[in-house]
């Protein structure tokens, strides 16, 4: 159990270090309110997708959701094409915004349910199933939009979600934080959360124990799909236009975030707070490298290094080995000080 605390402490430390390094190399600009807001507004898209991947992974049995970004783009493209055929985003701003938000989330939910049904009812391996649906969603978005960027426009409410601040924080980031907190609460306090983790730990035992397997899987992928839809809405709100191939690099980054957050690839364990911190860490690092004017290839290298570090931390007691001052960290972190030869 204390390992998980270690992961959290490690993530917090990394975030602090990145902020400090950023402040040092930029002479403070990195910590300016504007940059913090700018970075915060970049996190939600990828963060929501990463939480979706985490949920799928927790379900075990090789669970993963590769269709996330494709579904996000599909929800944006489909909603934009259908809605703008009978509603003008500049004339009826409020109605368009609300309909757009409802529809993106709805499309995401529907796509997620399809994933869940295919996996639970037809017993298709998740990685193959979501690879298939990823291509289907992307293809559908190409057909619907004709391969071109589709204009959503910037109706009042929607553009506020994408661009405005509330209490000095980007609204999109607040939405992300609230959704993350809700999902964390669901995982922690509802029977669904317990079932999900137990089923991920041992699917066979879960079936014999009478867990509603189909319900859990469909629910998990539906939740993941809904998060994709929400990501699609935020992308549209920020970028004014949506396109089928936006964020094609997000797929692997989302998985990277999840693995860095210590979610077990074999299922049964994952914490939302770690995923959020891990997403923030990647964002800080990438902004930091852009601030430093370093090549983006360096960023890929640094991310890979970070991932390997975290895998090492997860596998072995590297923190204890490499950081002689760990005692101080531990005392500020509330994880128990138990000896750990059994790890």
């Amino acid at each position: 159990m204390h390992k998980t605390g270690e992961q959290l402490v490690m993530l917090v430390v990394i975030n602090c270090v990145l902020l400090a390094v950023g402040a040092a190399i930029s002479g403070g600009t990195f910590l300016s309110v504007f940059n913090l807001q700018s970075m915060a507004s970049q996190v939600p898209e990828i963060g929501l997708l990463a939480i979706g991947v985490m949920l799928a992974m927790c379900a075990g049995n090789g669970g993963i959701d590769l269709s996330g970004i494709a579904l996000a783009n599909l929800s944006g493209v489909l909603s934009a094409v259908i809605l703008s055929s009978f509603l003008s985003s500049s004339d009826s701003e409020m109605a368009f915004s609300l309909a757009f938000m409802a529809m993106t989330v709805g499309v995401g939910l529907a796509g997620g349910i399809i994933n869940g049904l295919l996996i639970s009812k037809l017993n298709i391996t998740p990685i193959l199933c979501t690879l298939g649906t990823q291509m289907t969603f992307m293809g559908l978005a190409v057909v619907v939009s004709g391969g071109r960027a589709t204009t959503v426009g910037s109706p009042d409410l929607l553009s506020r979600i994408g661009n405005d601040m509330f209490l000095g924080m980007p609204i999109s980031f607040l939405i992300f934080a609230i959704v993350a907190a809700l999902i964390a609460a669901v995982l922690k306090f509802t029977p669904y959360g317990l079932w999900l983790m137990l089923m991920g730990t041992n699917p066979k035992a879960a079936v014999y124990a009478g867990f509603p397997r189909t319900g859990i899987i469909v629910g998990t992928y539906a939740l993941s799909g809904t998060l994709s839809g929400l990501a699609g809405m935020i992308i549209a709100a920020r970028n004014v236009n949506v396109k089928f191939d936006y964020g094609s690099s997000y797929l692997l980054i989302a998985i990277l975030i999840v693995v860095m957050a210590g979610v077990k690839p074999e299922g049964g364990y994952g914490r939302v707070v770690c995923v959020v911190l891990s997403a923030i860490a990647l964002q800080l690092m990438s902004s930091l490298l852009n601030f430093g004017g370093l090549s983006n290839f360096v960023r890929d290298f640094a991310w890979g290094l970070l991932l390997l570090t975290f895998l090492a931390v997860g596998r072995y007691d590297v923190v204890g080995f490499l950081m002689p001052f760990k005692g101080q960290l531990k005392s500020s972190a509330p994880s128990p000080q138990a000896p750990k030869p059994n790890n």
């Binding site: 605390g5 959290l8 917090v12 975030n15 602090c16 902020l19 402040a23 930029s26 002479g27 403070g28 600009t29 990195f30 910590l31 300016s32 309110v33 504007f34 940059n35 913090l36 700018s38 970075m39 507004s41 970049q42 898209e45 391969g147 071109r148 960027a149 204009t151 910037s154 994408g162 661009n163 920020r238 970028n239 004014v240 236009n241 396109k243 191939d245 936006y246 964020g247 094609s248 690099s249 997000y250 707070v273 911190l277 990438s286 902004s287 852009n290 601030f291 004017g293 090549s295 983006n296 290839f297 960023r299 890929d300 500020s332 972190a333 509330p334 994880s335 128990p336």
Partner: protein
Amino acid sequence: MKAISKHILIGGVAITALLSGTVGPLMAQDKPVIATVVKISGIPWFDRMNTGVEAYQEANPDVVATQSGPATADAAQQLQIIQDLIAKGVTALAVVPMDPAVIEGTLKRAMDRGIVVVTHEADNQKNTHADVEAFDNTDYGAALNVRLAECMGNKGKWTTFVGSLGSRTHIQWVTAGEENAKKHPDMQLVDPNNESFDDANATYEKAKEILRKHPDIKGFQTSAGNDVLGVGRAIDEAGLSGKVCLVGTGLPNPSADLLESGAITAIGFWDPQKAGMAMNAVARLLIEKKEVKDGIDLGVPGYEKVTVKKGAGDGLLIVGNGMVLADKATYKEHMF
């Protein structure tokens, strides 16, 4: 209890970060910074552009000119770089958009913050102060055809290749070529607008077919960057080098062998190095609040007397005369 104190810890960190953010001094930039953002870094085209940015920096030590770009061809990655640069507080952005539509929102935010925005290869970009294009597409297409007609002796069968029928600039180029060919009644266009999808292999197969179907064909005008390679190989293998003319868009380095063998008559392109310099020059004029008017000299070869029109949005559309036609004798001057 554990979880609660952990959350307090995280909250504390977040608050500390926010607090230090508010007191963090804004770094004063003594020199204006012009940041060039390209579609993708590490490919020959944009490496060549980088030499232009470096050259501009050397010639203008009173500004800071840099180039960056995503490691993967993804509009979302380019968007993040632009966003970070805005937050960093650059004076001007010179962007070659991966997808003009996707970055409209971010460029608007940049302009709202008083950042000068210049784009390239995006004459449909609305949120920009100025879009710089290397040449007028009609002039370019006509120039390719003039070279082709000259090689063909103004007579004989000829055909055209486009990347795809949906590619706007390619269609503009071949249409302008057809217009020019009308001046020579002996030139006969056969099976026009073959789609190549920028795939050298597919173009090679297609060109072989055309050579079989029309053994007396005299000329090819191609559009996408790899077309000259495919058609050139077909001509070369058929032993027709020097007998069949081929003029099209291509880059000097990959085309070198076929230019030497005579399979390619001439290649047309624009030099990304000069385009990079021109973008920076325009950005600088706009930073200094100087008027960019028709016929102005940007101080870059090919951009000595640019045409300035109204762009797709409120900004300007600046068109240079930066086209380069290179053949066996001249391509070595532009090795990239």
